[in-house]
Amino acid sequence: MDETDLLTRARAGDPAAERALYDAHVDRVYRLAYRLAGSDDLAQDFTQETFIRAFARLGDFRGDSSFGTWLHTIALSVSMNGLRKVKRFRTREADLDEARDHGWTGRRAEPDLKQRLAAAIDALAPGFRAVFVMHDVEGYTHEEIGTALGIQPGTSKAQLSRARARLREALSDFAGEWTA
């Protein structure tokens, strides 16, 4: 049965069709949510919310893009909004930690390349990070990214280029790793 039939049945409330749609797309949605969140709990929350919203709004899906692309638009919106909330909360926690650690004079260990890269990706602006993670980490095309983020494919390319430039700058200490 193709996806159009599944969508028709899911709109009519067929639980088996809903499950089939979930099975077809959940891996990619969860992977993207996990890459963006870096936490299993958050990734599960975002994935669940994505499917709950998608099934609730299935009547609004007109088929202008593929169901997968539409689903990813929801997944990105849920994940990025969720991460904004988490970030605000974590900032408060970090302030508390900083206050607690005040006066600590120990030397922090120099992070290795993997840690530095992760920190540099985390530090990218949300839009740049989403484009970078989707394209360079998860292999989405610029067309898919553009539709999911509501931007032109050319804008996606430009943002990827700027994200890479920032990462290159952040990793300049490790230049030998890629020039060798």
């Binding site: 870096g38 669940q48 890269l117 890629w178």
Partner: protein
């Protein structure tokens, strides 16, 4: 050094960035189904009246627990039990259009809660039914809160609903039947969260921070899973009065 070399290196190195584990398909599907079931019960079309119904049912439940506690202490005469009407329900009195004496149509577990227990075993069953019913309502409230806070638009009446549940939570905790340590811990944790929701300030600026604190408390204490585990299937239906 060329850009191409760096891009290749970056793509290779970035594969380890937040590398996802295997997808927990079944776990997530189970929770999606449960969440959708609850959300359907508190659908937006019902929002105009859900809190009136919920408040009335909560008040009836409160009456049942109070009667159970009263009889447990040996002061009550079963034959003197009144019909299940709400004499003074704080929430019902605040409801637009609700009178101070609101007749209610109690659902099955609530009727059980109001009936005189014939023995200690029956008393335990009464408490268990009341607790399960109450936890089902709490689950519905937290789901509604979660949904509405995600949209940044919380119905102000949710504080009233939380206040009613808070009173019932305290009554359950004070009941001599509340002996199970797991239930007691759940009720204690729930009490704190309900108190936070009941005290939500009306100023929009301060509310978004408060939402986050409450959501974080619910998440860190695994509250929704614990409530679902403690609630038998069907209790959520009561939560919305359907």
């Amino acid at each position: 050094m060329s850009d191409d070399k760096f891009d290749e290196f970056l793509q290779r190195a970035a594969r380890s960035y937040h590398e996802p584990p295997a997808t927990p398909r079944e776990d997530m599907w189970t929770r999606i189904e449960a969440e959708r079931r609850v959300r359907r019960l508190v659908a937006p079309t019902q929002r105009g009246r859900w809190w009136v119904t919920a408040s009335a049912l909560a008040a009836t439940l409160l009456l049942g627990i109070a009667l159970g506690t009263w009889m447990e202490s040996g002061k009550g005469a079963p034959s003197a039990l009144p019909a299940p009407t709400v004499a003074v329900a704080p929430s019902a009195t605040a409801a637009p259009g609700a009178s101070t004496r609101t007749p209610v149509r109690p659902a099955a577990p609530v009727v059980a809660a109001a009936r005189p227990p014939a023995s200690n075993a029956a008393g335990s069953l009464t408490f268990d039914a009341a607790a399960a019913d109450h936890l089902g309502r709490a689950e519905a409230l937290l789901t509604t809160f979660n949904t509405e806070s995600a949209n940044g638009n919380i119905d102000p009446q949710i504080g009233t609903w939380a206040g009613d549940l808070l009173t019932t939570t305290r009554l359950l905790l004070d009941s001599p039947r509340a002996r199970d340590p797991r239930t007691r811990k759940l009720l204690s944790d729930l009490e704190v969260v309900l108190a936070q929701i009941a005290q939500l300030k009306s100023q929009p600026d301060s509310r978004s921070d408060e939402f986050e604190i409450i959501e974080q408390a619910v998440r860190s204490q695994n509250m929704m899973t614990r409530l679902r585990d403690a609630t038998p299937p069907g209790s959520a239906a009561l939560a919305s009065g359907s």
